[in-house]
Structures are given as structure tokens and as C-alpha cells.
């Protein structure tokens, strides 16, 4: 069908892209592996950056400079300028559709300070910023009658190569409810499936859904990814559960303390620096705590209610009276599908947006408050680009023949021997990655981990599922997610091994300086072939 745009993923990026494509005249269908509003976006607490100067003096230029500084020469300045210059408009748009931002006493949108920011820049809605933005976007989609196909798991992107350039012609999904493979034809598809932090298994702050499905499927279809080695560790997740404690806790004046009760780092330095400092303390045998007691119970209740609740539930402590035990955990993946300024991948008609894409604005280290901004600003671009493309294209290729093929693939996976429990292997992968592909890396151990991952990949046929049924087979879905993560793990390792330097979130103990030769993006394809691009 001409004029049809398919959006895969119903997080913030997907919903903004869908709204924008709809406004641009496309017929939009959103496909999600869960339900809208259950995505990773709801976990974003801190805020969304825009230089509104509602609290103190700020400017888009300062926002640009802070973002570039944190990116360590690995961001595209034009993209960063576009992001930061669009920020005010993005907030105005969110305000216009009903996002309930917190307000200052004089009725302006409230802002707070996050790490790496020279001014008080992050607009917020208590500590539910992502949740309230996501739900308002969903309500907007409801208002416009945008179609949702819930509980469909992305299998493959289907492409055509009959013209000189590879083009998208549809997607195949597994209907979780029926167990059937469904094909949806479209010349214009937006991938908005989120990042891959769950490669770190339980050492990640993310939802269990952040398994990089869209990135893996697009790579298999011939797209390329960039900067996969840049993975941000959030300094403060709860020690036992890796549940996120927002940066706003430090923004408001929270301290980081070691077991001796000493502060050891500027708490509001960029996340990579703070995480490394905590990591070093932990290696020295210290336990690390976040101290927000001095902020007072009234403030905690008003500004950080979620944090207080989670600290009680998971660590059994009252943060207004006790120290919060923390550790850094994988939080955001800067790398993703490589896209141009119109959010297009190298496959014609396949666009990518949000954390699954690399818009080249975060570089080696993302600033808090820039990811919600990214999904609004580039979500709108993606929607417009995809709608325009859908309108201009009349490629009409019958994709029915892929149904059997993809069904057979699933049957084959179900026939794997299941001698090895893949859940155990997944847990091992997470441990291994946290230890050796985490905050500090070393070439030797990276090479060793690469061998382990290759072994694990080889053993996939001895893993598999014990559930052979069709109806809501979450055992099968989780195995497919694990396969995707294992595939991405190898690519992450190849990128990390080849980048013989330290920069932002990629810190190599064997080569601790940044090198100008690496002032370039790592580009990688599904076969692990790497090139560098400025």
C-alpha cells in the first residue's frame, strides 16, 4: 500500500515518529512487542534538556558546547546544533499536547540541573518525566486513531534488491498470542526499538525489553551500525537490583560516599567520569553510597518520590535517614543503527530513531536529559522523512513467500536440542560483560571475551527452548532476544577491541589516552567488517 508507514516500537521515539508521520499524511501502524506505554521511555526520570533559562541564565549555545564536550569529539556538530536549537520547540510541542511538566512558583516549566550541564536545563515532571511524556504521547496517538498492533515480536526486515539500491518492502513479526508469523508490507519502515543495554543482563538499569532486536534485525537485512562500543554506565543504580536512582538526586545536592564516609568525586561530572571513579573505589574494596539525607524528607517526598520508594523496596532503607547502597550499571547505548540527518539507514525506506539509532549527537558519552530530547527532535524528523518517502514510492513487491521461510526458521529453533539452559548462558554473558566489557576494558580480556562469545554462539544449537507450543511462548521470544544480544555482543567486542584508545565511555586500561586517529565513528556491518568515518 502506498502512503503506509510502519513503526516498530512504541516507546517515546516510536510514538513521536508515528504522530509526525500521521501529521505528514501517512497511514501509520505501530507494532510493539508489548503494549504502548510499557517501553523503556517510562523509566526516564531526570528530565529533558532545553535552554529555557527558566531558573538561571542559559542558552542553546551553552547546551551545544556542553553536549560536544561530553561527546569527546565524537559527535557531529551540525546534528548537535540541530538537536539543541530544536529543544525549545520540542518542549513547547510537548506542553501543547498536555505533558504535565512540573512548574516553578511563577508558572514556568520547572528545570533542574543534571551532570555535565553548565546551567539548570532539564525540564521535568517530578521524577516521572519519561512516564508522563510517554503516556501523553500515547494519548495523542489515541486521539488521532493511530493503529497499534500489540504483542508482535519483530523477526526480520524484508528487503528487495531488484533496483540498484536495497529497499525495504516489509517486516515479518511473530504474533505472540497465536504463535503465527505475520507479514506486513510497507515501503517505509521506522525502527524505534530501543537500545541493547540488556546485554549486561542484571547489570543494567533497563527494562528486560532492551535487547537490541531492531538493531540486530536491521543489521541482518544489510544496514550498518556505528559506535556500538560506547555504552554508558549510570553511576547510581541500587546495589542489589541495578534499579536506577536518577541523576536528579545528585543534581539536587546528593553526595557519593565510600565506606569511610568520604566524598571522592565531583558528583556532577559527566557520567563516564563518575562511574569510573566509583569503579576504582569498588576495586579498592570500598562500598559506595549515595547520601541524600541532608536534602530532607520533605524535599525527597516532593522531588524524588520514586527513588525513595524503590530504595525502600529493594534495599530496605529510608533514604531520608540512611545511605543508599549503589553501583554503576549499563544504562544507555550510544551506538546504534547508523543514520543520516533525515534518520535514514543505508537501506532505502528504512529509518531508525531513538536509542536504536546513532544520530551522532551523544558521541562517546551522553549527557543526562539529552535522550528524551533526542527522541522528540529526531522522532519528528523520522516521521516526516518516512511519510515523504512512503508518498513518493510505488514499489509494490509481494512478500508472501517469506512467510514459509520465517516459519521454518522458527521451527528449526524449536528443534534445537536444549541440552544447555540458555538462561544460564545469558546470565554468564551479563557477568562477563560487566566485568570485562564494562566501565574499564583491556585488550587482552576483550579478546578472551570475544572467544567466549563465539563459543556461546556456536553452542546455540545445543540451547533452545523447552516450550514447543505456539500460544504465548515467551520462552521462545526470550531465546530470540538472547540470540540477538549474542549477535550484538560479538560486534560490540570487535568495535571495542579495534578502538585502541580511551574516549568517554570506552575506557581502555592498556591505552588510556584519546588518539586523534580515532576522532571517527566506528562503522560495522553484520559480518563484523569495521571502517571509520568522520
Amino acid at each position: 500500500m502506498k502512503n503506509r508507514v510502519i513503526v516498530i516500537g512504541s516507546g517515546g521515539a516510536g510514538l513521536v515518529a508515528a504522530l509526525s508521520a500521521h501529521e505528514s499524511g501517512a497511514k501509520v501502524t505501530i507494532i510493539t512487542k508489548e503494549y504502548p506505554t510499557r517501553s523503556q521511555t517510562c523509566m526516564a526520570q531526570g528530565g529533558i534538556n532545553a535552554a529555557l533559562s527558566n531558573v538561571d541564565e542559559d542558552s542553546a549555545e551553552l547546551h551545544i558546547q556542553n553536549t560536544l564536550k561530553s561527546a569527546r569529539s565524537l559527535a557531529n556538530e551540525d546534528a548537535v546544533r540541530f538537536l539543541c536549537n530544536s529543544a525549545k520547540g520540542a518542549i513547547e510541542w510537548l506542553d501543547s499536547i498536555g505533558v504535565p511538566f512540573s512548574r516553578t512558583k511563577d508558572g514556568k516549566i520547572a528545570q533542574r540541573k543534571l551532570g555535565g550541564a553548565s546551567a539548570t536545563r532539564a525540564c521535568y515532571a517530578q521524577d516521572y518525566t519519561g512516564l508522563k511524556i510517554l503516556h501523553t504521547l500515547y494519548d495523542r496517538c489515541t486521539a488521532l486513531g493511530i493503529e497499534f498492533l500489540n504483542e508482535r515480536y519483530l523477526l526480520e526486515f524484508i528487503t528487495d534488491e531488484s533496483s540498484n539500491k536495497k529497499s525495504i518492502c516489509g517486516v515479518s513479526v511473530l504474533n505472540k498470542r497465536s504463535g503465527e508469523v505475520e507479514l506486513i508490507q510497507s515501503n517505509s519502515v521506522i525502527v524505534a526499538t530501543g537500545g541493547y543495554s540488556r546485554v549486561f543482563h542484571n547489570y543494567s538499569t533497563n527494562s528486560i525489553s532492551s535487547s537490541g532486536d531492531g538493531i540486530a534485525a536491521a543489521l541482518r537485512a544489510g544496514a550498518v551500525a556505528s559506535d556500538l562500543e560506547f555504552i554508558q554506565f549510570h553511576p547510581t543504580s541500587l546495589r542489589g537490583s541495578s534499579i536506577l536512582i536518577s541523576e536528579s538526586a545528585r543534581g539536587a545536592g546528593g553526595y557519593l560516599l565510600n565506606s569511610k564516609g568520604e566524598r571522592f568525586i565531583n558528583e556532577l561530572a559527566p557520567r563516564d567520569e563518575v562511574s569510573r571513579a566509583i569503579h576504582d573505589e569498588i576495586l579498592k574494596g570500598e562500598s559506595i553510597f549515595l547520601d541524600i539525607r541532608h536534602l530532607g524528607s520533605e524535599f525527597i517526598e516532593k522531588e524524588l518520590p520514586q527513588e525513595a520508594k524503590l530504595a525502600k523496596l529493594y534495599e530496605n532503607i529510608d533514604p531520608s535517614l540512611e545511605l543508599i547502597p549503589i553501583k554503576p550499571a549499563a544504562h544507555y547505548t550510544m551506538g546504534g543503527l547508523d543514520v543520516d540527518e533525515k534518520t535514514s539507514t543505508n537501506i532505502q525506506g528504512l529509518f531508525a530513531v531513538g536509542e536504536c539509532a546513532n544520530h551522532r549527537v551523544h558521541g562517546a558519552n551522553r549527557l543526562g536529559g539529552n535522550s528524551l530530547l533526542e527522541l522528540v527532535v529526531f522522532g519528528r524528523v523520522a516521521g516526516e522523512s518516512a511519510a515523504k518517502f512512503a508518498c513518493e514510492q510505488d514499489l509494490d513487491i509481494d512478500i508472501k513467500r517469506y512467510k514459509n521461510l520465517h516459519e521454518e526458521n522458527l521451527e528449526q529453533i524449536k528443534s534445537y536440542t536444549n541440552e544447555i539452559n540458555f538462561y544460564e548462558k545469558y546470565s554468564e554473558l551479563g557477568e562477563m560483560f560487566y566485568k570485562d566489557v564494562g566501565i574499564k576494558r583491556d585488550k587482552k580480556t576483550l579478546l578472551c571475551t570475544l572467544e567466549n562469545v563465539k563459543e556461546m554462539k556456536k553452542a546455540l544449537k545445543n540451547m533452545g527452548v523447552s516450550d514447543k507450543g505456539n500460544i504465548y511462548n515467551s520462552n521462545l521470544i526470550e531465546f530470540l532476544e538472547f540470540k540477538n544480544m549474542l549477535f550484538l555482543s560479538e560486534l560490540i567486542l570487535l568495535c571495542a577491541i579495534q578502538r585502541d584508545e580511551s574516549r568517554g565511555a570506552h575506557f581502555r586500561v592498556d591505552t588510556q589516552e584519546s588518539k586523534t586517529a580515532f576522532d571517527a565513528h566506528t562503522i560495522i556491518d553484520k559480518d563484523g567488517v569495521i571502517s571509520y568515518e568522520n
Binding site: K105, L131, D139, A143
Partner: protein, 234 residues
């Protein structure tokens, strides 16, 4: 600890070697080590994505924020079709957001909101759409088309917002299968993990309805608000 979980036709009992953990951790332990065929939903582990609502001993909870206890009986939500085990189909339930017009009618520019304005519906906009309230609501036993607690809370969120330009349309839309069908039993309030009271929101919507000239249709239809014996029935 021993946990009983409702599967297809019967309750199955699992013996799990964990203590002082959330129900979600128990479910994960079963799935990963004991029985991979168990189906349930989860996401964020931190009570914001709304995926993991189930009933424990008859009461709706989020599996990720409920500390499991020996002997707990875990069942899927009510009033929604079961897909498998603890997984339910939310399509119709979420569809009530559309029927209830639970969104801002128009896009508006430059409406200034005060701190107080924002507080008015800050709690209602904390909703995570977990459907605990929907499951607990007794009205569905008699009216399957009831717009339901979470959708009506969402309507109040928008009706109470200065940015809503057509509150009357919203109120008109919730007269049928809406605010007057609620029994004000408060079951929704008691199970909400976010501390929202849909019952209170429905009462506010009723008050707003009265301002727009509506009244309780069950009130006065036969007896002008008095019992047949002439004594007041309210």
C-alpha cells in the same frame, strides 16, 4: 517458599529456594530454572511500566513491588481475557481510553499553568496503566462496556487541565457506561500501586457533570430519590 500459580486448568505449586524477594524475582527463578513454559509479563522491575500486575491471594499487585510470602496464590487479572497463565489480553481494556476520549481535545499553544494547576492532576498523570483497578472493578460483572476506572481517571486528568478547550465534550461522552455506572465501592483505590483513587476522580467527574446539567440517571427515575415507602434512599 511454596508458591501456587494458576496455569491453564489448575494451580501448580512451585517450591522456590528464595526468601525476602519480590514476586517477580520468584517468577523469574521459576522460568529460568524450574519451568520455562510459565508465561507472565514484566518489564522495568521498578513499578513504572505497568506490565506485571497479577492477583495475589485475590488482591491485585505489581509482581515487581510485592514481597512474596510462603503459600501465596498467584492468579491472572480479572475482567480481561487470559492469553496464557498470568498473561492477559489488554486490547479491549486499553480501547476504553479511546472510547472515553481520554486525551486532550486539541493542541494548544501558550497556555500558562501555575504550580497549583500542575498539582491538580499530578497524581492522575502518575497512572501506569497496569489495569489493577480494571481487574478489581465489580461493575464489569454487570456492564462489560463500563469505561472503567483508569480511563475515567485519565479523563479527569484532561478535564482538570487548563489546556483542555472542550471539557463539556469530555463530560458529555462519559454519561453512558461512564461515571454513573460506578458503584463508588472504592475497590480501585485500594489496589492502585500509584496511590490514585479513580473513585475520587469519578466523583469529581460527577460533580462536573452536574455543573453541565447532568444528573444521576438512576436517581429520581422511579421515585424522585426516595424509596417506595417515601424514606430517602441516599
Amino acid at each position: 517458599m511454596k508458591i501456587s500459580i494458576k496455569r491453564e486448568d489448575s494451580h501448580e505449586i512451585y517450591d522456590v529456594p528464595l526468601q525476602d524477594v519480590t514476586l517477580l524475582e520468584i517468577l523469574n527463578e521459576i522460568k529460568n530454572k524450574i519451568d520455562a513454559t510459565l508465561a507472565y509479563s514484566s518489564g522495568c522491575r521498578s513499578s513504572v511500566c505497568g506490565s506485571c500486575a497479577v492477583r495475589v491471594n485475590g488482591k491485585e499487585v505489581l509482581a515487581c513491588s510485592y514481597k512474596a510470602e510462603d503459600g501465596d496464590v498467584v492468579e491472572p487479572l480479572l475482567n480481561v481475557p487470559i492469553e496464557r497463565d498470568l498473561v492477559v489480553n489488554m486490547d479491549k481494556a486499553y480501547g476504553f481510553n479511546s472510547k472515553a476520549k481520554a486525551y486532550q481535545s486539541t493542541i494548544v499553544q501558550n497556555i500558562k499553568l501555575s504550580d497549583e494547576d500542575e498539582k491538580r492532576n499530578a497524581l492522575q498523570s502518575d497512572c501506569i496503566l497496569c489495569s489493577a483497578c480494571y481487574s478489581a472493578c465489580p461493575v464489569y460483572a454487570v456492564n462489560k462496556e463500563f469505561l472503567g476506572p483508569f480511563s475515567l481517571t485519565r479523563v479527569w486528568r484532561y478535564v482538570s487541565d487548563k489546556r483542555e478547550e472542550n471539557p463539556k465534550d469530555k463530560i458529555d461522552n462519559i454519561q453512558m457506561d461512564g461515571v454513573w455506572d460506578c458503584t463508588l465501592c472504592n475497590a480501585c483505590t485500594l489496589v492502585c500501586p500509584q496511590g490514585i483513587s479513580s473513585k475520587a476522580d469519578i466523583e469529581k467527574l460527577r460533580a462536573r457533570s452536574v455543573m453541565f446539567g447532568y444528573s444521576d440517571p438512576s436517581f429520581g427515575s422511579f421515585d424522585g430519590g426516595f424509596g417506595f415507602d417515601g424514606s430517602p434512599s441516599f
